[in-house]
């Protein structure tokens, strides 16, 4: 591979992409909202100037000949430290020192975000967590706009960071920093840290309940999540995710009411940056946490196989629909999702349509799934177990309700029989729907016993 072929590969990988339907409209809506907020911010600035003239609780700070305003009595910066280690002054001092050292090496420092720190650092919270001692440190920063930042990113902001033990070396250090990009917020930060990045720590000052869901589930044939309310103490919610699950699949929301089991969409949920990834970024090493697992699904590319009845209701199931369903199935987060590069569309005797493919999400190996879709596009999901792509008959999915077996092997002739004494019945090539009573399938010349 030379650089020309690298360019060619990059184009081949990306050139077919198109924005989702309605993308332009979404941009316009968002742009208009931001313009309104921007105008409001200008109005607030004018009001602040009036307050200054009246001797309000504001101070003017001069820096680089730029007049800037800083809120002198921000309670987040001045209230007593919370947490069960609030009285441990040595730890608080250590946390402040590590914050200051950490900021000099923070990835955002490269973008000059932390060039102009204001006031003194303040430990907002210090306490014990399942991952050991930790402290949330906050400080004001004046971010000077530069072309490495989002448009409109400059201004007086609040920066926050978590000082915690890095499990890689057992040392306390700054393991994540964050700064407000869009004005005031009632959260100082959301952190995922500790062994396996399994400890979640969310700050909240709004008193709004916080709920978390450890992982996506399949329940009653539908994608679902169990939601648990996180206990909040001293403005901090902490939970350690079980070691057996993929922490990237966890989801956290802050809202007034308990989320329903079908609350799956991550838009609007609380985001986290794994501390191990942050530390890797600081050290300029490959962030292992985002290394996607190797694909284990069936490697058929662009295969659209059909099988089963041509009769009964015919309705289209397009890629967008499948993608939407697969995303609901796989909402597990950050280390990749491989949707099968193929699917098998099967017309069923009862008028439904089955779609069989495989899906690999998070750190889990690929699994078969079947959607049973009714003409009004309602679906049920059935799990078909782990994929073994090397088997002579890689797809042998027994559908529910005695609708039969979906069998497939690309490029091979298929035959079946319902008892070892019966004659072989032709099932075409590539994919077929065969009777529920089928016991053996012949793939080319190789006989495969179906599991019963």
């Amino acid at each position: 591979m030379n650089t020309d072929s690298l360019a060619s590969l990059l184009h081949d990988a990306a050139d077919d992409l198109e924005p989702r339907a309605g993308f332009t409209e979404a941009v316009l809506r968002g742009g208009r909202r931001r313009q309104v907020r921007r105008r409001l911010a200008v109005a607030v600035s004018a009001a602040t100037a009036v307050a200054l003239l009246g001797g309000g609780a504001y101070a003017v700070v001069h820096h680089d000949s730029t007049e800037q305003t800083t809120v002198a009595d921000n309670p987040l910066l001045s209230q007593p430290t919370k947490g069960d280690l609030a009285g441990d002054q040595a730890f608080l001092d250590q946390a402040v020192g590590l914050w200051q050292v950490g900021l000099t090496r923070a990835p955002e420092a490269d973008r000059h975000v932390y060039d102009d720190m204001r006031g003194e650092p303040h430990v907002y919270w210090a306490g014990g967590t399942p991952a050991g001692r930790a402290a949330v440190v906050v400080q004001q920063v004046y971010v000077h706009q530069n072309n490495q930042l989002h448009l409109n990113a400059g201004g007086l902001k609040l920066a926050a960071g978590l000082v915690a033990i890095d499990p890689a070396d057992g040392k306390l250090k700054l393991v994540t920093d964050q700064w407000q990009m869009d004005g005031p917020t009632d959260r100082l930060g959301n952190f995922r840290f500790g062994p396996g990045d399994r400890t979640l720590l969310i700050t909240t000052t709004a008193g709004m309940p916080i709920f978390y869901s450890p992982e996506p589930l399949l329940r009653d044939r539908q994608p679902a999540r169990d939601w648990h309310r996180m206990p909040v103490r001293d403005g901090i919610a902490v939970v350690e995710l079980p070691g057996a699950i993929d922490p990237n699949g966890a989801m956290v929301v802050e809202q007034a009411t308990q989320p329903a089991p079908d609350y799956l969409d991550r838009v609007g949920s609380i985001g986290f940056r794994p501390a191990s990834e942050y530390v890797a970024d600081v050290n300029d090493t490959t962030p292992q946490t985002i290394e996607p697992p190797a694909p284990t699904g069936i490697r058929w590319v662009n295969a659209r196989l059909t099988a089963g009845s041509d009769g009964g209701p015919q309705f289209d199931i397009d890629k967008a629909y499948l993608t939407e369903v697969a995303q609901k199935l796989a909402y597990s987060g950050t280390v990749g999702m491989y949707m099968g590069g193929y699917y098998i569309r099967v017309g069923l005797p009862d008028g439904r349509v089955a779609v069989v493919s495989d899906l690999q999400s998070g750190a889990h190996p690929a699994r078969f799934y079947a959607l049973l879709v009714t003409p009004d596009m309602k679906y049920e999901v059935y799990d078909g177990g782990d994929v073994n792509a090397a088997e002579p008959l890689p797809v042998h999915f027994r559908l529910p309700d005695k609708q039969g077996w979906v069998i497939a092997q690309q490029g091979q002739t298929l035959q079946y029989r319902t008892s070892a004494d019966n004659a072989w019945q032709d099932a075409g090539t590539d994919a077929a729907l065969v009777p529920d009573e089928t016991v053996q399938v012949k793939v080319g010349e190789q006989v495969v016993d179906l599991p019963r």
Binding site: A7, L151, W300
Partner: protein, 172 residues
């Protein structure tokens, strides 16, 4: 603000920008759409000031924002497009799909800034000087990041054919 002008630009240029965003996000399509949407939304109030040459500005904004992608990454599941999700096993015309998939996965493992340099240089065909301007760094840094990035890609792809001369052109 000429909204019709902005709308026309987004309608016609969003696909090309999305492709850059896709690679900047290491093949995470959901994050790429989020990234592009956010950058375009932020450009909306400033359109009058950037409308003469919006693309270099927006590509630079995306490249820099991609380094901050964690803020968006949880919003949508990562997705590999249905068509090219999983590479085939055997040689033949599908091998190109294998390479595409591998190169995107390899890109994902690079530090965001290094990835941005490679994407802007070899996908958007920007000069070293333009990349340096976009990323607010020196040309020497672009050279060294290019060199190190190509070296890492070669290691990740186990590709002995990546020309040594190209790798050795870096340096501050």
């Amino acid at each position: 603000m000429n909204e019709a002008d902005f709308t026309d630009f987004v309608t016609h240029r969003a696909p090309a920008l999305l492709r850059t965003a896709f690679l900047l996000c290491g093949g995470d399509r959901g994050a790429a759409e989020d990234l592009l949407q956010e950058v375009l939304e932020r450009a909306y109030p400033r359109w009058r000031r950037i409308r003469d040459r919006p693309e270099p500005y927006l590509r630079a904004a995306m490249a820099n924002a991609a380094a901050n992608r964690w803020r968006r990454r949880s919003r949508r599941v990562n997705e590999v497009p249905l068509e090219s999700a999983v590479p085939p096993t055997g040689p033949g015309p599908e091998q190109q799909v294998v390479d595409q998939d591998l190169v995107v996965r390899a890109l994902r493992t690079l530090p965001p800034r290094m990835r941005a340099v490679l994407v802007l240089r070899f996908f958007d065909d920007m000069s070293e000087a333009d990349v340096a301007k976009a990323l607010h760094c020196g040309v020497g840094t672009v050279k060294s990041q290019t060199s190190r990035g190509l070296t890492r890609l070669r290691e990740l792809l186990d590709d002995t054919e990546l020309p040594t001369t190209m790798i050795e052109t870096g340096g501050r």
